[in-house]
């Protein structure tokens, strides 16, 4: 199959299989349609021309990719726009989360916990560990 034909077929949905691309539609008329597209490509038509011919014959709804023009543009613009806006919001949220101070945050003065406290921690850890081990 020529590259032009492949490109044209890749831009079309099949009128003969619900939801499938013309590329993969196993139905008999789709095979014929693919053959005629191949023939057109061999005759020297460009892929866009072939696509327009097919859509003129079968209807606009078989276009697989919205055009980068008119309303069709919105299909392409919105998903990345949402991601970009989302990223902006995310950075804002991260900043605000970072700026805040915990109400009960202890200043790290570099001193270690006292031996007494350390002992309590070790005991608590051991108790927790034993509890976990049983499960």
């Amino acid at each position: 199959m020529t590259e032009e034909a492949r490109r044209a077929i890749g831009k079309l949905r099949s009128p003969y299989c619900p939801g499938l691309m013309l590329e993969v539609c196993p139905s008999e008329p789709a095979v014929i349609l693919r053959d005629s597209i191949r023939q057109m490509a061999l005759d020297g038509h460009e892929s866009d021309e072939i696509v327009e011919w097919m859509l003129a014959n079968h209807g606009e709804e078989w276009r697989a990719l919205p055009r980068w023009a008119g309303w069709g543009m919105w299909a392409w613009i919105l998903p990345p726009a949402v991601l970009i806006i989302g990223a902006g919001v995310l950075i804002g949220v991260l900043r605000s989360l970072r700026g805040r101070r915990d109400p009960d945050e202890v200043d790290d003065d570099g001193t270690d916990v006292s031996d007494d406290e350390n002992e309590r921690l070790t005991a608590a850890l051991a108790a927790w560990d034993a509890e976990e081990r049983e499960r």
Binding site: C17, V31, P79, G86, L97, D102, R133
Partner: protein, 687 residues
């Protein structure tokens, strides 16, 4: 007699109203007896709806064609096991099945929470009742499987042939289990909001149920892919069909929640975001049902649609959205973050980026799915959006997520240092790039495929290193050998390492997807004895010699089986068959593909057309011309292997902990205002 099923539905409907009322009044007035009554009502509803579903099945088994539903989806000759699965072959029955599963989970929740979360349970019960109420109203008033015809047809129309196979038996129940289970986290979220008890406890409960729902939904989606691959007969497994998309939307939201919930559990941050995700996931399951059922968008799933109910679902969605938003707004004071973010370079921040991508992907897919409908509604002209659109929009997001899977686990909570990251990423980067180089040298030029492999290997390496280092650290701290240390590490941190296994499965699956860039396809019309050849992307050649086609009568259909001798590089590797099945009752023909599986590729053969099929059936044409479509799909088996790994990993992550030491618990039912009975006293003392 089967009409008893409809009576059961009506009684269940009355009980849901009772259950909502008693739960609310019980919670508000402190009346434990009303709450108990409401909880019992959920058990009763479960039994009633199961009875109703059983009655539908019985009607199918007894060929009671005076029911419109039975007549529409079955026929006398239909095999018995398909008469059972016919319960979910059409819209009305599948809704009953849906409610039965929902009521099953509801009943399970009530049982599991007899001793805990008692202050939440009245509201959980009320929420579950209200959701069941909605579905029962939809069933009884718009799509009743017990609706009768004015006459009794001699035979039914039969089941859609594409549903008559194993995967279609397994795929809907699993998917429904996932969808319905997401109602439980939703109910807990609503309960937490209503009761104002928004501390750490509800989120723990919710996380477990979400994982369970996610498990079923994941398996359900993968089974759907297998079904599409093996029965739709075009060589692919995913085609961005609206209904497929609909099942992915809640999956993406649920996945985002499973990640961000860790931040809340560890750091008390993102409370309202997590609520948004839990509520959103449920709303998306309703949205998915709406898309599946409405038939507004044409799809391969058109066997289950009904236009009138789409408005009902839309109204329900709107009401739910308003209620959820209102509740979150009402409780916003209790949803403040408890801690601050210490560094942008931390696990927390990585999870947030992951959430952004999941939500972004969800939006992109939803937008693309709804776009034709929106343009039709607003402009009067449909602007179609096909599979390539979704590919272009989601693949980049998928690739970033793939990289993030490798980066995330290595970044420390709270604060990571750049030096450590550099050290930890050296080996994975080197591995990824060298695999990329090797593939480049081998001629792989497809940019996405190449990137998938580089990032995939990168991620797999970090995973491997994680397992290795975890084992080593455990061995060092506990002084154990490598084997026991590995096992103990896994069992002590099931959530983490189960999650890693899910990631590994997903990476392998992604690589399998990437293989589709190198699918090869040939088509030829052959006479017996003629040969066609296909050259795989791996370089070897398959020669397929068409032997013969024979016709077999079977129950409900006639099979035409074409057999082909397969040679790989000139060496015989066996016989492959492809079928066409002509179903008598529906007058429909479907093709059954022949697949020869190897570890690295599938040889996939479709009988695309046959000349003079009637001649073959009658025996007058023993040498028909058959058109074969043959594909060699590299790496497809990896997709299923990845799927199995994902399921195994999820099971590990959610495996329940053994015998949690319960605190002394009193008997649940206490006679109000009386001294507890003797046996109850003893029970309490033992505890």
């Amino acid at each position: 007699m089967t009409a008893l099923g409809e009576v059961a539905l009506w009684i269940a409907l009355l009980l849901t109203i009772w259950g909502v009322g008693t739960a609310f009044i019980g919670a508000r007035r402190g009346r434990g007896d009303l709450v108990l009554s409401s909880e019992r009502s959920l058990h009763a509803i479960f039994l009633l709806v199961v009875l109703s579903a059983v009655m539908v099945v019985v009607a199918f088994l007894r060929n009671e064609f005076h029911y419109r539903y039975v007549a529409g989806y079955s026929n006398i000759e239909l095999a018995t096991h398909y008469k059972i699965t016919a319960l979910w072959a059409g819209h009305a029955g599948s809704l009953v099945f849906w409610v039965a599963l929902l009521a099953f989970f509801a009943s399970l929740v009530v049982r599991a929470n007899r001793w805990k979360n008692r202050d939440l349970m009245p509201y959980v019960s009320a929420t579950l009742h209200s959701v069941i109420l909605f579905f029962l109203v939809v069933i009884i008033f718009t799509s009743n499987p017990f609706e009768t015809l004015s006459f009794t047809p001699a035979d039914g129309r039969g089941m859609n042939p594409q549903l008559q196979n194993f995967w279609m038996t397994a795929h809907p129940p699993t998917l429904y289990l996932g969808f319905t289970a997401f109602t439980i986290p939703f109910a807990f979220a609503i309960a937490a909001l209503l009761s104002g008890r928004l501390d750490t406890r509800w989120i723990t409960e919710t996380r477990r149920w979400t994982l369970l729902a996610w498990f079923f939904l994941t398996i359900g989606i993968i089974m759907g892919m297998i079904w599409a691959y093996e029965t739709l007969g075009w060589g692919g497994y995913w085609f961005w069909d609206p209904v497929e998309n609909a099942s992915v939307l809640p999956w993406l939201f649920g996945t985002a929640f499973l990640h961000s919930v860790m931040i809340q559990e560890k750091r008390g941050m993102l409370k309202s975001w997590n609520l948004f995700l839990v509520l959103g996931t449920f709303l998306l399951t309703i949205f998915a049902t709406f898309l599946t059922r409405s038939g507004l968008i044409d799809s391969v799933h058109t066997f289950a649609q009904n236009l009138t109910i789409s408005y009902v679902f839309l109204a329900y969605l709107t009401v739910l959205t308003i209620i959820c938003t209102g509740l979150v707004w009402w409780r916003r004071d209790r949803l403040k973050s408890e801690h601050r973010l210490e560094s942008f370079l931390s696990r927390e921040a990585a999870f947030l980026l992951n959430n952004l991508l999941f939500v972004g992907a969800m939006f992109a897919i939803m937008w693309g799915t709804m776009f034709p409908l929106l343009t039709e509604g607003l402009l009067g002209q449909t602007i179609a959006v096909g599979p390539p659109f979704f590919d272009r929009v989601t693949i980049p997001i998928g690739l970033v997520l793939l990289a993030l899977m490798g980066i995330g686990p290595v970044i420390a909570w709270r604060k990571a240092s750049k030096r450590n990251l550099r050290r930890n990423f050296t080996l994975p980067t080197v591995m990824g790039l060298s695999v990329g180089l090797i593939l480049w040298a081998a001629g792989v030029r497809h940019p996405y495929a190449l990137l998938t492999f580089i990032l995939g290997v990168f991620t797999l390496t970090t995973m491997g290193v994680e397992f290795w280092k975890g084992t080593r650290a455990r061995a060092r701290i506990e002084g154990e050998g490598a084997g026991p240390a590995f096992l103990h590490m896994m069992s002590r941190n099931r959530r983490r390492y189960g999650g890693y296994i899910v990631h590994i499965g997903l990476v392998i699956m992604f690589m399998g997807f990437a293989g589709s860039a190198y699918d090869v396809e040939e088509q030829a019309a052959l006479e017996p004895g003629e040969t066609m050849s296909v050259t795989s992307a791996w370089g070897h050649t398959f020669d397929l010699t068409y032997q013969a086609t024979s016709a077999y009568p079977a129950t409900n259909m006639t099979k035409l089986v074409a057999s082909v001798r397969v040679q790989r590089n000139g060496r015989d590797v066996g016989i492959l068959t492809a079928e066409q099945r002509a179903y008598r009752q529906r007058d429909e023909t479907i093709s059954v593909v022949g697949i020869r599986r190897a570890w690295n590729e599938d040889l996939y053969m479709i009988m695309a057309g046959i000349e003079d099929p009637n001649g073959v059936i009658q025996g007058t044409n023993p040498r028909p011309l058959v058109t074969f479509r043959v594909l060699v799909n590299p790496l497809v088996p990896w997709i299923w292997i990845g799927g199995i790994l994902m399921a195994v990993g999820t099971l590990i992550a959610m495996w329940p902990r053994r015998g949690v030491p319960e605190r002394p618990a009193p008997p649940r039912t206490v006679p109000v205002g009386k001294v507890p009975r003797r046996d109850e006293r003893e029970l309490a003392e033992i505890g």
